[in-house]
Amino acid sequence: MQMSGAQMVCEALIAEGVKTVFGYPGGAIMNVYDEIYKQDGFEHILNRHEQASVHAADGYARSTGEVGVAMVTSGPGFTNAVTGLATAYMDSIPMVVISGQVPLSLIGTDGFQEIDAVGISRPCTKHNYLVKSVKELPGILKEAFYIARSGRPGPVLVDIPKDITAEMGEFEYPKEISIPTYKPNYKGNERQIKKAADAIKKAKKPLLYIGGGAVLSDASELIRELAKKTEIPAVETLMARGVMGAKNPLLLGMLGMHGNYASNMAMSETDLVISLGARFDDRVTGKLSEFAKYADVIHVDIDPANIGKLVDVDYPIVGDISTVVQKLLLALEDVNTDNYRAWREILNRYDELHPQSYQDSDEVLKPQWVIERIGELLGEEAIITSDVGQHQMWAAQHYPFDRPRQWINSGGLGTMGFGLPAALGAKRGNPDKTVINITGDGSILMNVQELVTASEYRIPVINVILNNHFLGMVRQWQTFFYDKRYSETDLSYQPNFKALAEACGGIGFDVTTKAEFDAALKEAIEQEKVCFMNVAINRLENVLPMVPSGGALYNMLLEHKDQ
C-alpha cells in the first residue's frame, strides 16, 4: 500500500500494539504529528519536556513489560531526550524513541535544529538508525521494536529526516524478522547448567544473588520456586526489589552500599554465589577484591559481556533467566536442603543482631516511617516510583515490595527527575493501580513541569516529597566524609510545594505529623488528582547501613553519631 513515511510510522506503531506514545512535537517531526492527529489507533500524551516523555515511556515499559514509545523533534528535542535514553540504557529497558531530523539535503550543513542524533546516542542506545530512504523505513521500524525487546532489552533510536516522512512509498510491515548478525542466546548451555547444579548441591553456604534481569525476564515465580525447593537464602539488588517478595522467609534483603547487615555479610561469607541477572555493579560489590572472596560464582546472564566483566566466574551461563532457572529446577530435583541449614541459621542470627531498623520519633516525622506507612496502607496494590537520593534508598530498604515491576527507579544512571514522569507512564499503563512517587525536595523540581501533564490528562499520581530541605544524599556524604562542609546542598529556599501543585491543577498537602500524613494520603487517593504531599522530615536523617565508597561490603557503618 502506498503511503507517506509519516503514515508508515503510525501504521507501524499500531501494528506493534502500541497504545500510548509520549512526546513533544516540533519542526522536523511535524509530518508525523499530522498523521497522529488523523489516526485513532493509539493515544498521544503531550509531556511538557522531552526528557519527561522518554522517562514516561520508560515508566510505562518498566511497569507493563511492553516496549515504551516516545517521540521528539530534532536538535534540542532530541538532546533533551538523551538523559531518558541513557537512563533506559543503563537499566536495560525496552524502548523505541522516534526523533525527527532535518531533511537529508540539509544533513551536515549545521541546519536549523540539526544535531547528529545517532552520533550522540550511540553510547546510550542498544542500537540506532538514521533513516536514509523511505523504502527502508518499515523494515527499520520492525527491527527497532525487535531489537528493543529481545535479548538484553534496551532503548533503540530511529532518527527520521523530515523529507522522508513526507515522501510516498510502499508500505508492507514485515511479519517476521531475522537479523543475521543478531542472534541472542536464550537457552543456556546444558552442560554448564548441570555443572552449576552439581556445585549447588556440594555447596555449604550458597546464596541467590538476584538482579534486575530477573524482573526483565519475568522470572519471579520461577526464582521463588527455586528458593523454596532448595531453601537457599537470597539477596536482591536495588533493581530486583519485589522478585522474592517481602514476606518471603528466605529473603535477607537488599545488598550493597545501603544493603542490610545480613545481606552484606551473607555475600561476604558465602561459598557459592548464584547470580541471576545481576551485573556486579560497584554500588553492590564495594571493594572488589573483598567481594564474595570465599565463593565460587555461577553467573547467569543473557549478555555475555556481563559475565567475567568484574568478577571471575566459575560457571558462566549465557541465557534467559527464566529458561535457565527452569532447567536448574529440573537438575536440582534431588537437592538436600539440610545441607544449608547451618548457613541459614548463621544468617538469621546476623539479621537478629542488626535488623534493618531506624529510630522513630514523636517530635518529627521519620522518612522510614512514612515509607513503611505507605506500605502498610497500600502494600502490594501500589506501584512505587522514585527519584534519586536518600528517599530512593529508604524506599528500597523499607517498602514491602511483594511483586516484580512494583518498584520503578533509575538504578544504573541514577537520574534525578525520573520519578514523576515515570509515575505518569506507570499509571497510564496500569490505570487500576495507585501510583506513588517517593521523591525528595531536590529531585522533584527536576521535572516539575509534568504536574501540568498529569492534570491535563487526569493522571492522578501521588508525589510524596520527603522534604529535608537538603540535597540529602550529597549532604550525608558531606557529613561523613567532608567534615560537614555543606557545599551547595542546603535547599532551604524552596517553592511553596502545596501552592505549586495547586497552580498546576493538582492538590497539595503540607504534612508534619503522622495523623496529617494518614489523612492526606487518604484524601489524595480519593480526590484522583495529581498531588504533592510535602512531608517535613528530620533534616539530618542518614541512610544506614552504609558501606563507604570503595570499602569492603562487610565494613558497614551501622549508626552515626549525628543521627
Binding site: G119, R122, P123
Partner: protein, 156 residues
C-alpha cells in the same frame, strides 16, 4: 596486569556508521587502538575490520565481547595464529642512493613504485615487526614522509 598485544578481526555489515560504532566503543570504554584497517569483503555485504590493540587479558576479553554485542557485527575473530601483513610507503629525495633504496625495499617485498622530479616513492609490505625494521633502516636515506597502512591479518 600484564598487557598483551592482540590482533582482532571483526566482520561487520558494510553499512553507514558501522566503523563509528566500533571506534566509539574503543574510545568510550578506554581501550587502545594501535592500528585499524577496514575494507569491504568482495562479493558480499560485509566489511573486514582488522584492529591491533593492547590490554590485559581481561580487557581483551571485554573488547571481544563488546564488539560482538554491536548489532551489525557478524563475527569477531581473535587468534594467536594470525598471518599479519602491513604495507608502508616512504618518500625519499631523488638525490639519495636509489639503488641502495631499491635493494633495501626488495628485502622487504617492495620496490620503488613512483619516480617524480624531486622525489621517489618506495613501498614495502611485510610483517609488522619487519616493517618497523624497514622504517628504521630507511632513516639513513633522509625520508621526507612515511605512511604506514595498518595491519591486515588472516587466520592461519
Amino acid at each position: 596486569m600484564q598487557k598483551v598485544r592482540r590482533v582482532i578481526s571483526v566482520i561487520v555489515m558494510n553499512e553507514s556508521s558501522v566503523l563509528a560504532r566500533v571506534t566509539s566503543l574503543f574510545a568510550g570504554r578506554g581501550y587502545n587502538i594501535d592500528s585499524l584497517t577496514v575494507a569491504p569483503i568482495p562479493g558480499s555485504e560485509l566489511s573486514h575490520i582488522t584492529i591491533v590493540t593492547k590490554g590485559s587479558n581481561k580487557v581483551i576479553e571485554q573488547i571481544i565481547k563488546q564488539l560482538h554485542k554491536l548489532i551489525p557485527t557478524l563475527k569477531v575473530i581473535e587468534h594467536e595464529e594470525m598471518v599479519e601483513k602491513e604495507m608502508v610507503l616512504i618518500k625519499f629525495p631523488i638525490d639519495e642512493n636509489l639503488s641502495d633504496i631499491a635493494a633495501l625495499c626488495s628485502a622487504y617485498n617492495g620496490g620503488i613504485v613512483n619516480v617524480g622530479v624531486d622525489m621517489v616513492i618506495a613501498m614495502a609490505s611485510d610483517e609488522p615487526v619487519r616493517i618497523r625494521h624497514f622504517i628504521e633502516a630507511a632513516q639513513r636515506y633522509s625520508p621526507c614522509e612515511v605512511v604506514r597502512g595498518g595491519v591486515v591479518a588472516i587466520e592461519r
